[in-house]
């Protein structure tokens, strides 16, 4: 379980002080699929970086289970949009997965079955000897998923992971991710600015406001069976509800860009 209580995050820089988050509270239960949704600059990535332990909070607390988060932890793995940067381009598909097992000090004898299992789960087992530069964008993201799952974390923190993929590949990645989530029971915190993506994936959507002083304006339960049909009238109602919530923020984004 992840618990964020009254978190405030202030960035100090040469250009001045920026209050990114101000009074954010959120609880993510085990096995939940939570989407953080909001316009660019709403602090959702900042919140995710705090959950990953990359950024300290200015005030408030973040807990993973009963332990305060103060750095990267074994139970949490972050997942990046730019797979080209996040992967190790000089290692093959299989070696990238092995890298995680190696730095986790998992006994060597256990490596091969783990590698096989997760490469098969993401459909990459026929591409083991390829380098990331030889993979498509969707395959690189699947490799990131395999690498993350192989170290068996409890929580996946995903920062707009499919934002750079084309629409068809993105839908395919959604089905893969949901399938893996249902099979493994991981807790997922998924950042996105795409309303349809959030509705098709999440158990619960945390809508965030445009910064500075971002907060979670509303938590919405998505009580629809999966796989979700985006033409379902209930989806349209939800979509409109979120759109209305975001409308004032969208106007402010327009002013700033």
């Amino acid at each position: 379980m992840l618990r964020v209580s009254n978190v405030r995050k202030v960035f100090e820089s040469a250009r001045g002080t920026y209050i990114a988050l101000d009074g954010v509270s959120l609880t993510v239960s085990d096995g939940e699929f939570l989407c953080l949704l909001g316009p660019s600059g709403c602090g959702k990535s900042t919140l995710l970086n705090i959950l990953a332990g990359f950024e300290p909070v200015t005030a408030g607390s973040v807990m993973s289970g009963d332990i305060p988060i103060s750095g990267a932890g074994r139970e949490r793995v972050m997942f990046f949009q730019d797979a080209g940067s996040a992967l190790l381009p000089w290692l093959t598909v299989e070696e990238n997965v092995r890298f995680g097992l190696r730095v986790r000090k998992i006994p060597k004898a256990g490596w091969q079955p783990i590698i096989d299992k997760y490469l098969r789960m993401t459909g990459l087992d026929t591409h083991r000897t390829k380098f990331p530069s030889e993979l498509s964008g969707g395959m690189r993201q699947r490799l990131q998923i395999s690498r993350a799952l192989a170290v068996e974390p409890e929580v996946l923190l995903m920062d707009e992971p499919f934002g750079a993929l084309d629409a068809m590949t993105r839908r395919y990645m959604h089905s893969i991710l949901l399938d893996i989530w249902q099979r493994t029971g991981k807790t997922i915190v998924f950042v996105t600015h795409d309303i349809a993506e959030a509705i098709s994936l999440a158990d619960r959507i945390g809508v965030m406001s445009f910064g500075p002083r971002s907060v979670i304006t509303k938590l919405i339960d998505i009580d629809l069976p999966r796989p979700r049909d985006l033409t379902n009238p209930k989806v349209a109602v939800l979509y409109n509800e979120i759109e209305t919530l975001l409308a004032p923020d969208l106007a402010r984004v327009a002013e700033h860009s």
Binding site: A72, M78, Q81, D82, G84, L91, K105, R140, V151
Partner: protein, 272 residues
């Protein structure tokens, strides 16, 4: 008639072979053209004493090769380049990694490096002779000097530009600070380091010659200097040609090594 797929593949490989052949033919053509222009310049436009014709130069080169005279000079110049280049590269990589990693060191030493790098090895020859004499040490020093700054600057940039996502991803997987440094940051900097070393290698070739002209009693630069004093333009041209061929060969060896050993580190993955 419709071509079968097998024919298609054969056709493709034949086409790529044709491409290689025509590329090779063009390279040979370019060299032949150069010799023709050279011949024309030396016999028609200028005095053959000032620009000795190609055949004359080859005639001079053969006994120099046979007696081993030129090979001795090549060996001594190369050993200077290699010693200075290797030590300069190692020191440059070591310093560059530290500067790329430790902010305080970077802020402290970057201004000094930014100023000193404008002192080319050639500018350092007079003081090097006073410090180290005209023996091997002064040449090692000059090549080291030329290599060091180029490699430092490139290495620092490479370490600096390791994507933050890559470091954080490794951290999440459980890598320690040391593992991130050795297994993520250093390999990420390899393309920058190699680029720096290649530029430094070229610069070493540029600077060994003036160093030997001004302060040596052996080496190709010395051969140039001696031949100039004796007005032996033939021998000067042999020395100049030797430099061209040597630089070309060394760069090819360097590339071959990089392709064989470091190829996997050289690929940049584009942003998805």
């Amino acid at each position: 008639m419709v071509a079968k797929p097998a024919d298609d593949a054969g056709e493709r490989s034949r086409r790529s072979m044709t491409a290689t052949l025509s590329h090779g033919a063009l390279a040979v053509g370019s060299l032949v053209l150069a010799f023709l222009i050279w011949q024309f310049l030396s016999t028609v436009l200028f005095n053959p004493f000032l620009i000795p014709p190609p055949l004359e130069v080859i005639r001079t080169a053969i006994p120099m090769l046979m007696s081993g005279e030129i090979l001795d000079d090549v060996a001594i110049s190369m050993s200077r380049v290699v010693v200075g280049f290797v030590t300069g590269s190692l020191a440059g990589i070591f310093t560059g990694v530290l500067l790329g990693r430790i902010r305080l060191l970077h802020d402290l030493f970057d201004p000094i490096i930014e100023l000193l790098r404008y002192l080319s090895p050639t500018a350092m020859i007079p003081i090097a002779v006073i410090w180290f004499g005209i023996g091997e040490l002064s040449k090692y020093f000059l090549i080291f000097w030329g290599t060091f700054f180029i490699v430092v600057i490139n290495t620092t940039a490479g370490v600096w530009r390791t994507p933050i996502a890559r470091q954080r991803a490794a951290e999440c997987l459980g890598a320690t600070k040391l593992q991130i440094f050795v297994l993520v940051i250093i390999p990420s900097a390899v393309p920058y380091i190699v680029t720096g070393m290649r530029v430094a290698m070229a610069s070493s070739f540029m600077s060994i010659i003036p160093a030997e002209i001004l302060a040596a009693d052996s080496g190709i630069g010395y051969l140039l200097q001696k031949s100039s004093m004796l007005l032996q333009t033939n021998r000067i041209f042999v020395a100049l040609l030797t430099i061209c061929v040597l630089g070309f060969i060394v760069d090819r060896i360097f590339r071959f090594f990089v392709d064989r050993v470091l190829a996997r580190y050289m690929s940049f993955v584009s942003q998805t």
